[in-house]
């Protein structure tokens, strides 16, 4: 669950604006890479996996933690399309009031990097390892890395409560400097348990798909269009 449910107006403008700039660059690059793919195969898969991510995000497995299925998405449809799916899922989430609109850029970068990293790590693992363990370990490693990036982003953005008070003494019990370590501790504590559950679910889902419909794992999307 490495996307930020931070509302609009909390993060500094430079940070979310940078998020949108980076998102445009990555999205442009991925769309360029996808231009040769067969739309008939690509669009239904893109829609299905983006929708699956949205459904996954509606299943709370721990208080404050839900699964994303972003690694499954990356493994099944590849890094480029996985990144696009992450953008679509985040845009629709924002249009449901689930997280701010201004954080769509940063959230897509986080969720998209899960799809990209998950795919890369899954295919880096030796095929002698059972599919379940390849997917589960890829999920664990990916979630650890992206959660660390999330904490980094919050650390960069962390706002002094005094700044939000606009220099006035409201006398309402502010205790002073904000603490990134508290945030990191909260996220890592809840996250560590969540990663294991999500890794187990991802491993089992990928294993099931590899048994029932292995062609979904076979990168059919990267074949050239028929007749080309």
């Amino acid at each position: 669950m490495t996307h930020m449910h931070i509302p609009d107006g909390i993060l500094p403008v430079w940070l979310w604006a940078l998020g949108f700039i980076l998102l445009s660059l990555f999205l442009g690059f991925t769309l360029h890479r996808l231009r040769t793919m067969d739309m008939k195969k690509m669009i239904p898969l893109l829609g299905t996996l983006s929708a699956a991510m949205l459904v996954g995000m509606s299943i709370p497995i721990l208080p404050g933690y839900h699964i994303n299925l972003s690694v499954v998405t990356g493994i099944l449809i590849g890094p480029s399309l996985g990144f696009v799916a992450a953008f679509i899922a985040n845009l629709i989430l924002a249009f449901m009031g689930h997280g701010g609109i201004t954080v769509v850029g940063l959230n897509t970068l986080l969720l998209g990097s899960e799809a990209v990293l998950g795919h890369t790590v899954f295919y880096l693992f030796t095929k002698r390892l059972p599919v379940f363990w390849r997917a589960a370990l890829a999920t664990l490693m990916t979630l650890f890395i992206t959660t660390t990036i999330l904490i980094g982003i919050v650390a960069m953005a962390h706002i002094d409560p005094e700044m939000l008070h606009h220099g006035e003494d409201h006398g309402h019990g502010t205790t002073g400097q904000g603490s990134v370590s508290t945030f990191a501790m909260l996220v890592l504590t809840i996250g560590a348990v969540g990663w294991i559950i999500e890794a187990a679910i991802t491993g089992a889902v990928v294993r099931f798909i590899s048994q029932v419909k292995p062609d979904l794992l076979g990168h059919v999307l990267h074949e050239k269009k028929t007749g080309e």
């Binding site: 629709i92 689930h98 945030f183």
Partner: protein, 234 residues
């Protein structure tokens, strides 16, 4: 999030002021409220904005009780962030209203505008593939939700959920999710094939949101008011 089907019903079936307003005016309304949340340094203008939007929702006969409940979902995450900042109640109030005021504005938009209209408006600025992906995701979401309902009913009837057996439950849920994905891919592929046969070429039939008209005074007025409050009340 699972209220998507209900939101879709409200958006498609209402006839109030907000339903009659153009998409562009409602998008501007949302933009103004988000800008207000970004600019606000005090919870009071956002608090006033929240209750103002609520009043507008009541006047426009929108499902305001459900909208309030759904907007409060954002409170959980704002609180988590507030705890990490170790601020007092003033900071908590600011964070909470920064979360729920744009959330209520967003809900006002989506319960009064069918998603295809929103997507067609956004599609004017997006590459064709993203527009097609957005639309397909929206369609597939309903397929997945229906499959999920069936799956949950089936697994309960067959004794697939057993309290205390984490391994068995996880295994069944994972197999269910895998099956959902496989079925959803098949159904989405069929749906796309049917759409392609009927002439769908990746672009929306109606793009853009049309121009402004007389009934846009409510969203434009409400949005401007919230933004002005945030600018003046600093």
């Amino acid at each position: 999030m699972i209220d998507v089907a209900r939101i879709d019903h409200w958006a498609a079936s209402g006839t109030g002021f907000f339903h009659r307003a153009s998409v562009i005016s409602k998008m501007l309304f949302l933009l103004f409220v988000v800008a207000a949340a970004v600019l606000a340094r005090s919870p009071y203008p956002l608090m006033a904005g929240y209750f103002g939007i609520l009043l507008v929702a009541v006047l426009a006969r929108l499902p305001w009780t459900r909208m309030v409940m759904l907007s409060l979902y954002a409170v959980v995450f704002a609180l988590l962030y507030g705890i990490s900042l170790r601020g007092g109640w003033w900071l908590f109030a600011l964070l909470i209203f920064k979360a729920i005021t744009p959330s209520l504005a967003m809900l006002t938009l989506i319960v009064s505008t069918p998603y295809p209209k929103i997507f067609s408006f956004i599609s004017a600025a997006l590459p064709e593939m993203l527009a097609a992906g957005l639309f397909m995701t929206y369609r597939t979401l309903f397929i997945l939700l229906e499959l999920m309902d069936n799956f949950v009913a089936a697994i309960r009837l067959r004794g697939g959920f057993s309290p205390g057996s984490l391994y068995k439950n996880s295994s069944n849920i994972s197999k269910g999710l895998g099956m959902l994905l496989v079925k959803a891919v098949e159904r989405a592929s069929r749906l796309y094939a049917v759409m392609a046969v009927r002439g769908y070429n990746g672009s929306m039939a109606q793009q853009g949101g049309g121009g402004l008209h007389r009934e846009d005074y409510l969203p434009l007025g409400a949005g401007s008011l919230v933004l002005m409050l945030a600018i003046l009340w600093r």
